[in-house]
Symmetry: C2
Subunit: 345 residues, 2 copies
DNA sequence: CTGAAAGCGCTTACAG
DNA sequence: CTGAAAGCGCTTACAG
């Protein structure tokens, strides 16, 4: 049952019906000059009447551009569902792809070597015209693969991680510093950070930035713990931070995403601690989730949708050759809400 | 900079290097019979040495199967980020695609007519080998389009909505009945439902099921309100339901997803109502989110990841022609947690 | 503007 | 198992 879809309509049929050559049809559908308005109209009408759509696979074989953008994500499948970041990022990417009539080729991979191999076969198989690379690690294996391939790419990550690839990034170092200084300004002297996956490059950068800020401010206590970004890990980390004696535990906690902050909120409630009186909580990314809790979550806000859109726009620049080059997107800004306040003691 | 990737390696080069014909290389890479182990090895070695990967676009032009599955999602981009459902569903789909070395072609569309057109050009352009269709409406425009096209498809939705298409669905009618009966068994006589988008077929089914269950149980009060699935809409609906005088307002609320239930929880807190003492809340879908709140959310649990996987498996059945046909996946089951209890009055 | 032709990189019979 | 050939449906010069 591989389909009974009658005799396939091809460019030849359209040309015959419009009384022109195949070449003319091709010109019309690729919006190239050299045809009169009248001819163009006749061609489009014929195509419409026959229900013809150009075969993208034939088109790309013949050397035209491929209107598909690849995105491989390397995180455990079961964790993706909850991270609002990805879907929002993807929807931002999509919003730009749609303008270019492009689609996203999405693949979940187990590790970066698999991803590197995938990129190579996608590109060599002419399945994609370019790719977005996310979640960079130090000494990332994708850098040496993408470069010699000639694959148009935009790397989402700090230039210190992405080598020679065109990259778009958020200035995590500055943002972490701002988060810590804000909490310190409220009077907090013992601050913790529940970070993301230790293997990720941006986690490494944030960790260093937190250390530096804590040192610069001469904090009395500074803790950092790595997680896998899941709510459960965030809950565990929070529980362990808050079980110390009141005088020894943090009075403020910064989270690397918002789902862990939500989990932290619930752990505080479960332990009988009031937010923000007993402990201040500061989320990251700031999806809609942060406004749905009680109290609402203060957060380092980040236009993730816009981030995705900018990455896609940059990729189209790289593909067409008139790229703007690497650049940061706006640094996350502090959005104070109900979960942060001066410490009560 | 459309890439300087040297002279492209083709099947011809591999054949030459392995000392065989192009046809033999093709047979080897498509795992077809007719080659000795030794020849096969020689071919794979040559391909590896040259870094060759078959051009999927040439392959599919030549008539072979296309290893790409389409998925168009028709919801406002900004709303997708927060709905854990989709990412979990997609990750379930991906888990099966990966086994088949397939990728997902994802596209956000504005309306179903655009989606119908997209399916047609994806299929005619040989961009996809099949597609997954979600979010069915009554008299869905995709049904009459997909059928005559011969496009292999799996429709996610109740057969009453998906016509002649192979479909996989959850029995929402039974699940809604179970949810209402559970709350009634706890002693609730005034129950509300905060539903999803009214235009969606499954919302219509759930609405009817709720009415029926309420009638069968002779509830003293039964409310239903439609939303857009967003947390904000869920919060608004909850607020309006709970502002009535204590004797007139619902003592239990069922939500059509979990994000709205989280929002409801926070509205109750904001209004000074205790959950579950003053009002019981029951979520739907049951992502990780439900275990991260305080109290934890009782929910109609649903293995969304498994659902996506089953849909993908079914699609591969349709594509290969030995499909199992339409069938339901397990009905969501009640998972009681901290947000439901007998009414206190 | 047209028309005939070559070529993209495969797969698929078909004769050996 | 091999080899030569046709064909998939386009695009891209090229001569008119």
């Amino acid at each position: 049952m591989t389909a009974l879809h009658g005799p396939r309509v091809t460019i030849k049929d359209v040309a015959a019906r419009a009384g022109v050559s195949k070449g003319a049809v091709s010109l019309a559908f690729n919006h190239k000059p050299g045809l009169s308005e009248a001819t163009r109209d006749r061609i489009f009408r014929a195509a419409r009447e026959l229900g013809w759509a150009p075969s993208l696979t034939a088109r790309s074989l013949a050397g035209a551009r491929v209107d598909v953008v690849g995105l491989a994500i390397c995180r455990p499948a079961r964790m993706l569902g909850l991270e609002p970041f990805y879907m929002e990022f993807v929807s931002g990417v999509e919003s730009v792809l749609t303008e270019h009539s492009s689609s996203l080729l999405l693949r979940l991979v187990k590790n970066l070597d698999e991803e590197a191999g995938l990129l190579e076969s996608w590109w060599k198989g002419r399945q994609i015209g370019g790719s977005i690379l996310v979640d960079f690690r130090e000494d990332d294996p994708r850098v040496p693969v993408a470069e010699p391939l000639g694959l148009p790419v935009v790397a989402v990550g700090h230039p210190s991680l992405t080598g020679s690839l065109t990259s778009v990034w958020t200035d995590d170092t500055t943002a972490v510093g701002e988060a810590v200084r804000y909490l310190a300004a409220l009077g907090h002297r013992r601050i913790a950070r529940v970070g993301g996956a230790a293997a990720l490059g941006h986690t490494v950068l944030r960790t260093a930035a937190f250390d530096e800020a804590a040192k610069a401010l001469g904090l009395a206590g500074a803790w950092q713990v790595a997680t896998d970004f899941s709510g459960e890990a965030g809950a565990r980390a929070t529980r362990s931070l808050l079980t110390a004696a009141p005088a020894d535990r943090p009075t403020a906690i910064v989270y690397d995403n918002d789902i862990m902050a939500v989990a932290g909120l619930s752990v505080a409630a479960e332990m009988g601690l009031k937010v923000p009186e007993d402990v201040s909580l500061l989320a990251w990314d700031d999806s809609q989730l942060c406004r749905l809790t009680h109290p609402t979550l203060s957060a380092m806000s980040h236009d993730v949708h816009g981030f995705g859109a900018e990455v896609a726009r940059t990729l189209f620049g790289v593909i067409s050759g008139d790229g703007t080059g690497s650049h940061p997107v706006p640094t996350p800004v502090l959005t104070p809400r109900g979960s942060t306040a001066p410490p009560s003691r």
